[in-house]
Amino acid sequence: MNAFVDPAGMAGHSGMTKGEVLLRVDNVSLAFGGVKAITNISFDIVKGEVRAIIGPNGAGKTSMLNVINGFYHPQEGTITWRGKVRRKMKPYEAASNGIARTFQNVALFKGMTTLDNIMTGRGLKMHKNFLWQCLHWGPALREENEHRRKVEEIIDFLEIQAIRKTPVGRLPYGLQKRVELARALAMEPELLLLDEPMAGMNLEEKEDMSRFILDVNQQFGTTIALIEHDMGVVMDLSDRVVVLDYGRKIADGPPEEVQSNQDVIDAYLGVPHEN
C-alpha cells in the first residue's frame, strides 16, 4: 500500500534522524502596520513528531504557519531549518525545501480534477523541459506516467479512488479536505503543516482524518505541525503542544502537562487579560 515510501529516495529530505531539531523558531515577531500578530515566540519542531499549535481564535496560529512556510516575513527573529538559519525566502522555495501545507479554508484548484490537483503537487519533482512537454512523448510521457503511479498510490492510501476524475469544486467539504491532504502528501514533504485539518467535519470524518494523519506520521516518518481546535483530537494525536494567546506563547510541552497549565485554562475559559 505504501510502497512509494522510500525515505532515502525522497528528494528534499535531509536524512536527519528522529529526534533531531528539524525547525526552530527564535524570538519571532510579526506585525501588520500597528497590529501585532505574533510577539517574540520561540519553539522548535523535532524530526518525526506531531506538534500541535493551539490557542483561541486570533491567537496567531495561522500567522505562525505562514511565517514557517515563507508566506509572511517576520520583522524580528530567526528561523532555523535543518540546522541552518534561513534567510528570507519565497513560499515556493520553502516548498522545494520540503515544507508542505494544507489550509484552513480549503485552497484547492477548483477548476481541476482531483487527479490534476494531486499531480500539481508533484510538479517540483518533474524536470522534463518545455520542448519535451510540447511533444508529450518519450521522456516526458515516461515521467508523466511515473508520477501518475505515485499519485495513484496516494489516492489508494487516502481512499479517494472514486473521485479521481471529478472536478474538486463539486466535492463535499470533507472530501475536499482529504484531496488537499493528498496534494500536500504528493510533495513528499519532510515537514507537513496542517491548518485545522478537521474543521467543519463530522465525528466519522474526524476519525478518518486522525487515522490518516497518524499513518502519515508513523509510516512515512513525516514530521507534522498541526493547528486544531478539537482538544480531544489534539491530546490524542500530538506528541508536544505549544499554546498561543494574543500572539504570545503561554505554554509548551506534552499534552498532559499543557492541559493542566493554569495559564492555558485561563486563556480558554476567559480570565481578564493583563497587558
Binding site: N69, F109, K110, T120, H136
Partner: protein, 358 residues
C-alpha cells in the same frame, strides 16, 4: 447507441491520459482531419476559402493562444490586436530582409518575436491582477499600434504606410502574393493550426498546464506548493503570444496580403478574439475553434440575411448587425456562460446515455 464507452478498458496510465479516451471520438476526429486535409482542398472555391475557411483557421489560432492565457492561466489580456500586429510586422521585416527564408521559418520566428514582446508586457502581471492587468495590457495594444504607425523602419518607409507581402513559394508552389491559389493558403494554415493545436493540448495536460491552472484557480496556494508564479505567468504570456503572433503573421502574409496596422489590428480585434474565447469556452482547446467559427460565421450570416433576405440598406444593416451581435453575445453569456464547449460536452454526455434518459 453507437456512442458508448462500455467495454473500452484502459490498461495503462498512458491510455487513460489520452487526448480522446473514448474510441468513437478518435474515429470522428481522424475522419474530420482526413476530410479537412484530403477532400476539402479539391472542392473549395475562392469565396468559401476567403470568407470562411481562412479567417476561421487564423482566428482559431489567435483564439487558441488567448485561451491559453485567459482560460488556462487566468490572466485577462486586451492586447491581442497589438500582439498580432507584432507577428505581422515581424513577418514583413523577415520576408523583405531575408528573401530566401522559408515561409515556415518566417511564421515560426514571427511567433517567437511576439513571444518576447508578450513576456515584456506580461511582467506587470506579477504585481497586478484581474481587471487592473486587463487595463494594463491595453497599454500594449495602443503602444504597439502607435509604434508600427510611427516609425518608417517597420514598414520600410513605404509611401502608404502599409505593408504588403511579397510573393513567396513553398515546395515549388506559390504561397503568398496575388497569384497564390486559395487551396495552397488553406492547406498551409490548416497544417499550422493542426500541429499547434496538438502542441497546445500536450502542454495543457502536462506539468506546465497544471501549473497554469493552479495559478488561475488559486495563486497563493499554488505558490505554497512550489509553483513559481513569475515563471508560470510569463510562460503563459510567452506561449500565448507565440500563437497570437503566428496568427498575426498568417493573417498578414497568407490571408490579407496587405495591412494597415490601425485598421486590421485595432482594439476591436482584441475584443473579437476575447469574445471567441469566452463564447467558445474558457479553458477548452476545441472551444477556441468553436468560438472562432461562431464569430466568423455570424456576421456573414447576419449580413446575407438582412441585405439579401430582407432588403435592408447596407448602412442600416450595419447598425442592426452591431445591435444583433451585442444581443446575441449577451444571450449566449446568459444561456451558457461556460461557452459552446460546455454545450458540446453536455450533448456528448446525453449521447452516451441515449436512448435512455439516465
Amino acid at each position: 447507441m453507437l456512442y458508448r464507452e462500455a467495454g473500452q478498458f484502459k490498461t495503462t496510465y498512458q491510455a487513460d491520459q489520452g487526448i480522446f479516451p473514448i474510441a468513437q471520438d478518435r474515429y470522428v476526429v481522424w475522419a474530420f482531419l482526413a476530410v479537412a486535409f484530403l477532400v476539402v482542398p479539391f472542392f473549395v472555391n475562392d469565396y468559401w476559402t476567403n470568407a470562411v475557411l481562412l479567417p476561421l483557421l487564423i482566428y482559431g489560432m489567435a483564439a487558441l493562444g488567448l485561451n491559453i492565457l485567459v482560460g488556462y492561466c487566468g490572466q485577462i489580456s486586451l492586447g491581442t490586436g497589438g500582439f498580432m500586429a507584432v507577428g505581422a510586422y515581424a513577418s514583413y521585416k523577415l520576408m523583405t530582409s531575408f528573401p530566401e527564408m522559408s515561409m515556415i521559418v518566417v511564421v515560426l520566428l514571427s511567433g517567437g518575436m511576439t513571444a518576447a514582446v508578450g513576456v515584456m508586457f506580461g511582467l506587470p502581471s506579477l504585481r497586478i491582477k484581474g481587471f487592473y492587468l486587463a487595463v494594463a495590457t491595453l497599454a500594449a495594444q495602443f503602444f504597439l499600434v502607435w509604434l508600427f504607425n510611427k516609425f518608417g523602419w517597420f514598414y520600410n518607409y513605404s509611401a502608404t504606410g502599409q505593408i504588403s507581402a511579397p510573393e513567396r513559394e513553398l515546395f515549388g508552389v506559390v504561397l503568398t502574393g496575388a497569384s497564390a491559389q486559395t487551396w495552397v493558403k488553406y492547406l498551409f494554415c490548416l497544417t499550422f493550426l493542426t500541429v499547434f493545436a496538438l502542441i497546445a493540448k500536450n502542454l495543457v495536460r502536462g506539468r506546465l498546464g497544471r501549473n497554469w491552472m493552479a495559478i488561475r484557480d488559486m495563486d497563493i496556494a499554488a505558490e505554497l506548493i512550489g509553483v513559481r508564479p513569475l515563471m508560470t505567468k510569463l510562460s503563459a504570456f510567452a506561449v500565448s503570444s507565440f500563437y497570437i503572433g503566428m496568427a498575426g503573421s498568417l493573417l498578414f502574409t497568407i490571408y490579407l496580403g496587405a495591412v494597415e496596422v490601425g485598421e486590421v489590428f485595432g482594439i476591436n480585434v482584441s475584443f473579437l478574439v476575447l469574445f471567441m474565447v469566452i463564447i467558445g469556452g474558457l479553458g477548452s482547446i476545441v472551444g477556441s475553434f468553436m468560438g472562432a467559427a461562431f464569430l466568423v460565421l455570424l456576421p456573414i450570416f447576419l449580413k446575407n440575411f438582412m441585405v439579401d433576405g430582407l432588403g435592408l440598406m447596407p448602412v442600416m444593416a450595419k447598425h442592426v448587425e452591431i445591435l444583433l451581435m451585442g444581443l446575441l453575445i449577451i444571450f449566449f453569456l446568459i444561456v451558457e456562460p461556460h461557452g459552446l464547449a460546455r454545450l458540446w460536452q453536455i450533448a456528448k454526455e446525453k449521447l452516451r446515455m441515449w436512448p435512455f434518459p439516465y
